[in-house]
């Protein structure tokens, strides 16, 4: 009886030791599982923090803001010498505005209308505006053009630019309607009237543009004869420049900025000349404009 008890005790001890080992192994396994969930939790938290920070930084910090005291810059942009335009020609421009067959001829005050749709936050609009302002200044006079910069949180952040919000344009040849649909903080700004909205919806969409870039801005419509969708050059070209530096560089035909901006302006000018029956002659027959006309794209 005493022997059986001793055997039982040894068996109990062995079982208890085995049980303890199993319990210890199970504890280690559970610890590993919790570690894995911890790692996954950290990943999720990092992503949530990034989303939270992004949502919480809707407003830009620093950077230039819209103002009407941009006279010097606008004056410089609108006084690029004919010699600079002539030297640059088409410059580094790859493709100018695209022709439209049978496009809707829009007019305002009896003159063919150039319609621009963009947004102040958009870096590509920021690039294109310099050329639009320069080109149209050859046909008329700007007032109220402000300076601003693209979003601080987008591609090519804080690209220096001008703004058509609140701007006026007068010309004997054409009219201009420019809309900045959102400000730098992507808050609503200008609203398109229904007729211009219809033009945007019709021509900033297939078959005129690829499905992938439908609705993209900047969109410029030249009175039913030409249009452009997107910037003509990369806004990174203007990285870290001030408004004054961009405007000054436009006067130097050897600068990369002039090759891009003045080249684009020459091609835009050529498109506008198609609306004005090549008036004024001194503009539309200028060598730079003729070179720019060579970059106009046929209807697709």
């Amino acid at each position: 009886m005493a022997q059986r008890t001793a055997k039982q005790r040894r068996a109990d001890n062995t079982r208890q030791a085995k049980l303890a080992q199993l319990k210890a192994a199970e504890r280690r396994r559970r610890a590993r599982i919790w570690s894995v969930f911890g790692v996954i939790g950290v990943i999720v938290v990092i992503v949530l923090i990034m989303v939270g920070v992004k949502l919480g930084t809707g407003s830009d910090n620093g950077g230039p803001v819209s103002n009407t005291a941009a006279g010097k810059v606008v004056k410089k942009v609108t006084s690029v010498p004919a010699s600079a335009y002539a030297t640059v020609g088409a410059g580094s421009l790859a493709k100018g505005p695209i022709a439209i067959n049978g496009g809707d001829a829009i007019t305002k005050d009896g003159k063919p209308e150039v319609l621009y749709v963009g947004a102040e936050y958009c870096p590509f609009c920021a690039a294109e505006r310099w050329a639009v302002v320069a080109a149209l200044s050859r046909f008329g006079t700007w007032s109220g053009v402000g300076t601003t910069a693209s979003s601080s949180h987008d591609y090519a952040p804080d690209t220096p630019t001008l703004s058509f919000h609140g701007a006026d344009y007068s010309s004997d040849y054409i009219s201009f309607a420019g809309y900045e649909t959102e400000d730098r903080d992507q808050q609503p700004l200008d609203t398109l009237p229904s007729d211009d909205q219809k033009i945007l919806q019709k021509y900033d969409a297939p078959p005129y543009v690829d499905q992938s870039s439908a609705g993209s801005i900047p969109f410029v419509y030249y009175g039913g004869k030409y249009f452009s969708n997107g910037a003509s050059f990369d806004p990174m070209l203007l990285k870290d420049m001030t408004h004054a530096q961009v405007a000054t560089a436009m006067h130097d035909p050897s600068s990369d900025v002039a090759k891009a901006v003045d080249g684009t302006a020459n091609s835009i000018t050529a498109a506008v000349c198609k609306l004005t029956d090549d008036k004024p002659a001194n503009v539309c027959t200028a060598p730079g404009v003729k070179a720019g006309a060579g970059k106009l794209q046929p209807a697709s």
Partner: protein, 165 residues
């Protein structure tokens, strides 16, 4: 292919990997592979866009043709292609025949997915703070990578421990 682990004595009769792991991991890997095939196609067929999408935050084309679509940024190897190669490798590593075949393969699977998760965090940062554009197809790949990492990591955590002699 589930089996009890090797020659070592294990805790109880637990099999590894658990039955749900292999099909779940393989399905996720194949989904990730299909998504990355599309993104690679989009990268090579889409021209570089110099426009802002009116669609707001969601624009795959802008993301896959941006400077950040390359590693190093602006040049180098397309991220979409790296993603495709990654998922080809992960799909192979998630084939049922390769689970528990060797400790090295199991660790390689976990390590590769860990690197994938770090890449996902970088790409989410780029989308949110550098481009301000979200590509839903990219997000699909990101979610799949993180979930697949979770599945494989949980499977590794469930691996039976050898019982001390």
């Amino acid at each position: 292919m589930s089996r009890t682990t090797g020659a070592e004595p294990t805790a109880g009769t637990v099999t590894w990997p658990p039955r749900w792991v292999q099909p779940t991991a393989l399905v996720l890997a194949v989904l990730g592979l299909a998504d990355s095939v599309y993104l690679t196609f989009e990268h090579y067929t889409g021209s570089k866009t110099l426009a802002c999408s009116s669609g707001g935050l969601f624009n795959c084309h802008a993301v896959t043709t941006s400077d950040y679509a390359y590693l190093p940024v602006g040049s180098g190897v397309p991220v979409a292609l790296l993603g495709l190669l990654f998922f080809i490798g992960i799909t192979a590593l998630c084939l049922p025949q390769l689970w528990d075949r060797s400790r090295g393969i199991d660790l390689l699977r976990l390590l590769a997915l860990g690197v994938g998760v770090l890449m996902v965090l970088w790409l989410v940062y780029v989308e949110l703070f550098k481009l301000s554009q979200i590509c839903p197809y990219c997000t699909g790949v990101h979610v799949i990578t993180v979930v697949l990492f979770g599945v494989v990591a949980v499977a590794e955590a469930l691996r039976p421990l050898p019982v001390e002699r």
